[in-house]
């Protein structure tokens, strides 16, 4: 295993797609600072991924907690050269019935949280004059979905944020990209009713849902030296759904 002597901060890394991203990044030599609110899941993941998975229990919407964690990571881990904004929540409801709380929470975590995390760690990339920032959006941010005005707005917001940040940082050798997963096999899609699942499948040219590891592979590629000249893009990983 190679050792990059560099840290990637991954939010929502305790389980699901974030866990797979952490696992993949560790396998190519990154130290991963795994940020999540789910303390138990973080512990379990740390046991399975070993010492290069460094768990930090934090609510990324809380600037004070985040500053403390950023300071601890700065002191304890190799220099931060990667940021993966993966943490996300859903609070689905048709807009007619959506409460302001449902709207606020999803925007706060998915979009503002990504902004806060990026701001908390970007200075070390600027100093290093290299690094990668990848935000996990969603096909829903590109296509929209009934019942997800909040989620889709947050995921589309990540695209605008990343494209703008790219214009601030590209000259520093820092890449800023977005990965837009399609329908992925996760706990969330497992719970879908059979007919909804069937409806999704009928729309995906590849004829199957994606795997979390397939998102992780795309993220690791965008963070690799092979992708140094790829910046400001939205990479759909969706079995052809948006094409």
């Amino acid at each position: 295993m190679s050792n990059l002597d560099a840290t990637a901060v991954v939010t929502g890394a305790a389980r699901g797609i974030g866990f797979e991203i952490a696992k993949k990044l560790i396998s190519v030599g990154w130290t991963v600072a795994a940020l999540d609110m789910l303390e138990e899941d973080l512990k379990r993941s740390a046991e399975s991924l070993g010492e290069n998975y460094r768990p930090y229990t934090v609510n990324i919407t809380d600037s004070k907690q985040l500053a403390e964690v950023a300071s601890a990571i700065g002191n304890d881990l190799p220099v931060v050269k990667g940021i993966v904004n993966n943490a996300g929540v859903t609070r689905d409801a048709l807009m007619m019935r959506m409460s302001e709380d449902q709207w606020d929470l999803v925007i706060d975590v998915n979009l503002t949280g990504a902004w806060k995390v990026t701001q908390a760690f970007m200075r070390s990339l600027i100093r290093a004059r290299e690094g990668s920032i990848v935000s996990i959006s969603s096909v829903v941010g590109l296509l929209g979905a009934a019942g997800q005005t909040n989620y889709a707005a947050s995921k589309a917001g990540l695209i605008g944020m990343s494209k703008s940040l790219n214009r601030e940082l590209a000259a520093r050798g820092i890449t800023v990209n977005v990965v837009a997963p399609g329908f992925i096999e996760t706990e969330m899609t497992e719970k879908l009713p059979e007919e909804v699942r069937g409806d999704y499948l009928s729309k995906i040219p590849a004829g199957r849902l994606g795997l979390p590891v397939e998102i992780a592979e795309a993220v690791a590629f965008l963070m690799s030296p092979s992708a140094k000249y790829i910046t400001g893009i939205v990479l759909p990983v969706d079995g052809g759904l948006t094409t």
Binding site: I126, A171, R172
Partner: protein, 79 residues
Amino acid sequence: MSLENRIAEIIVSRLNVKPEEVTDSANLKDDLGADSLDMVDLMMDLEDTFNLKISDEEGNTLQTVGSVVAFLKTKGIEA
């Protein structure tokens, strides 16, 4: 180390310039090649090093190496 030397050291490392280029009258942008992100980075460095806050308005007035030194002195920083 004098205040001038400490500031010069920060500028040399942040802007990747030669120490002899960092003269009192050197303009950070025009002579030393700082872009807007370098300027923000430099201001944040000065804030950390000298433990003070520099507002955007104050930052915008800092055009030359000499003006940085003078500004820090007005903030009561001597060395």
